[in-house]
Amino acid sequence: MRHIEFRIAAILGMIAIAIHLLPPDYSNAARNIVRDAAAPGLATARWGIARTKAAWESRPTDVITRNAAASPNVSNQVEQWKQRARRLRLQNAKLQGRLDEQAREGISPYPVTSSNPLVQPRLLDARVLGVENTRLWQAGQMIDVGSKRGVGKKALVVQAEPLIDLGRNSKMDDGLPVYAGRTVIGRIVETGRWTSTVQLVTSSKYRGLARLVRKGKQGYTFGAKGILEGQGEKPCRLKFVASNRAVSVGDELYTADHELAHPFYYGRVIAARLPPGAPHWEILIEPALRQLDKLQHVQVLRKDIRVAPSLAN
């Protein structure tokens, strides 16, 4: 009897080693097949959880419970205000950039009309299928959108909008798109039909083009560009910022994707050192995203190509 067990364990062990040695494309395909097969179950479970939550929240509550529930609302409001402040700083930096450009090159003699951008960003809501214990293994998070909804590899994943919309309540619409200034969580590295894996900003394999926004005498301005690199844990590192560029602690870091009119937020500079004779700064970035374990909703940025009406016809 023991002999049969040993045989089966040995065969399964060899299968496990063979699976481990599979090329990443094959292992990703196998993983996505399993995850996609679980999609109906996941959808049912989500529906059940949402119903239970709704029933729980609609129950009669006493004063103490209502007071206890107020604190998430306050933190949501704080987060919303922070995002609004970032958006305004971005707008400030953009206007400052245009002003500098006009001062440098003069005013155009021809009337300038702005055309619609070719790439139109669209945010897709996604739920985090929290399976990885991020304390132990900060390698990735699974979310419930995949190629079926047009999500491709390297798509940015950002923090979802807090539940309270201060913009509508306080009539403070600044004219910027909703995605501007959102906090970057990571990017998609594997896509299945219905699920995808997010590589977190803190992952040691994460690399992203980033740009600093600095506070100057005349408001906020765009600063140096560099490559944001995860280190497996907080903080991240900003590399390849030339030594002749200005950097200081407190500067904010945003994405530098040329296809997006407005960038996303990475975090802020917590340490900047220029060793004597070094060609680049040594910069540490504190990522804005906190409490990864408690993250439930995210948004995935899908870049849609705008088709001109004449071409569409």
Partner: protein
Amino acid sequence: MLHLAAFLIAYVAFVAQSTLAPMLVVGEARPEFLILAACTMMWMFDDATSIAWVGLLGFLDDCLLSGSLGIGMGTAVFIAFFCISPLRNAARHSMTSTITIAITATCAYPCLTTLIRALATQHALPASNLLTTALLNAAYTVAMGVGSVATIHLILTLPKLRVAPH
């Protein structure tokens, strides 16, 4: 029929691990539904078949994580092979020994898989967090398992107790 039930249990455990587990976190402890399913498989099948099912559950655990596959599967088979006989012997004699072995096996799984993954990817091993998190998860999972078994047992025996005086 028993294998179909085992397949359903594995599927439900996979879904629960993805959706319910993050909601049932208490402090730093999180339930491991796939390990609960593995214990159920050990109870349902003979030694050799249960090792095969535990291997499959290890593979499902691999699919939930990013990185290369096979580490969870190999580790689960390894632990099942060495634990199954002591677990069956203990189950006949004492509840305390059974729970101790279950907690040890449940704790060993994340420790070993994390260690192998760290070696395979040359990441730093989160040694300070690893043991405490694994122990907390194991204790929570085993407590949940014992609680579920006790509840089911109570539900099944309660009607008989009510009928007994007549």
